[in-house]
Point group: C3
């Protein structure tokens, strides 16, 4: 276990997820405190759930500087988002980067807590996906998690699985976490740029209306 690695990953994931939260806040035209609120919710939501489930103090209680990082990111977006060509496109790419840092952050935290493989896998997915899901549910956007024809949960699953399998195969932890991050990012990038997807469920024709 490399000392400080789990904590460094938490920092990266908080900063980038906060940017995505602030971008969603900009789409809802909130004021600056609203930006900070949504940014913090997104940035620490997944990690807080992870830590509550692991029965340890949430990351931002253990280190309140994380809240300042998230707030700083939100303020940056408030004053610069109008410079972006497409806020939605930026949001998607930042979210992909955040996912690729948050999944290994969750994996590292669960390994540090001495959890078994399946729990490590789920903790990677929770840390990666839940902050963004909270953000989208609260702001009434279609959750990225649920967008048809895109890989999202799949990327988190594959990344976390790579880390778990790597750990079982004796790969050093740092390398396993880099592998986790790369698998997540490459799959998500492939989905965003090349349209990689899994087959989706299709009902029988004539399509049944959603009642």
């Amino acid at each position: 276990m490399i000392p400080g690695l789990a904590s460094a990953l938490d920092y990266g994931s908080v900063a980038v997820f906060a940017l995505t939260g602030a971008l969603v806040a900009s789409r809802s035209q909130l004021d600056i405190v609203g930006f900070v609120f949504i940014a913090c919710l997104t940035a620490v939501g997944g990690g807080t759930l992870r830590d509550v489930i692991l029965d340890r103090p949430p990351l931002w209680i253990a280190d309140p500087v994380l809240l300042a990082v998230a707030a700083g990111a939100a303020i940056l977006v408030f004053f610069t988002a109008h410079l972006l060509e497409s806020r939605y496109r930026t949001l998607e790419w930042l979210d992909a980067c955040a996912l690729a840092v948050a999944v290994p952050a969750g994996v590292a935290a669960a390994v540090e807590a001495g959890q078994s493989g399946p729990v490590v896998l789920v903790m990677g997915m929770i840390t990666g996906c839940m902050g963004g899901l909270l953000r989208d549910v609260v702001c009434n956007e279609v959750p990225l998690v649920l967008k048809q024809g895109e890989l999202y949960v799949t990327c988190a699953f594959a990344g976390a699985l790579a880390a778990v399998l790597g750990g079982w195969a004796g790969v050093p932890q740092g390398a396993a976490l880099i592998l986790c991050s790369l698998v997540t990012l490459i799959l998500r990038t492939g989905s965003l740029t090349l349209g990689w997807r899994l087959p989706v469920y299709r009902p029988r024709p004539p399509q049944q209306p959603k009642r």
Copy 2:
């Protein structure tokens, strides 16, 4: 306290709630990983909240096999849901069955944790209702919990109340849990088939528009 009873109820509730989660995922036309994600969220959501509040490890950390059960149910639905006559009707009935297992599961867990009557009551309701509520909020369906003119929370309340009163009256725990399950199921069945309902709130005419 019958050994293993609380755990057996958790298994049943996870399996059936996972089926309902996967059916909702089919209505959103997700891919197979999306099915598994929504199924797991639905299946362990209520129990996780219950366990976090009771300050014990969530059911799926104590026994990760539950996650495999939920995933298996999701995969089954992915490949067979197109055979169903009406996915929505199936969803309603499976959800009724899941409720009738999850409420006693919550009651049993709270009794095991030595909680008082009112807390046992609420834990039965949380375990029964929260998984489905999470499922519906995330997938942007009208929560079954809130559907006008149907008994839902009422069934969970009455079932959990029956178990608590039974426990106070000295009924053996196994019998109290069966009573709990039957009360829940009968009320919900009556609501779905015979239209049993409580009077709903009606504003004064002319009806005030929802602003």
Copy 3:
């Protein structure tokens, strides 16, 4: 630390938030059990999250009478809401009062738990805002937290900040909590009656459509 003060604030916040929850339930035309359910969710939602994060038993487990208070408030609203001139206007004002009690309740609980300034600040905001946010997300209303051109999170933030700064300046705790409550209420009242607001984010013209 004045004994019983944190607990008294919890009582007040639970009672008033329960009224707001029941009013939202009336807008969804639920039955009486639905009123009690939404009222309890709103009333103890923020405090439960606070207590779970602080790793202590949720307020309503420590004192189940709180549930009876919330249920009583819900039943009161069920039978009297039709007498109101405007349920929405009443909801806004009750919510403002609830916020002005819940923020100091959160601050008091975090101080009692020996937390640092930034954590006390966030706990005030969580206890103040999360119950109402849960209520609005579950009932599919536009969250008050997110309404454009209104101060809401800002009021909770300013109130909690006033309490923290007061504490650092050596103000006695009772006075700091009254200050917290007053700052929250005055800002919210100013926003509701005089239109006080912070500038909101505006994208460049031509306005980009929300995709």
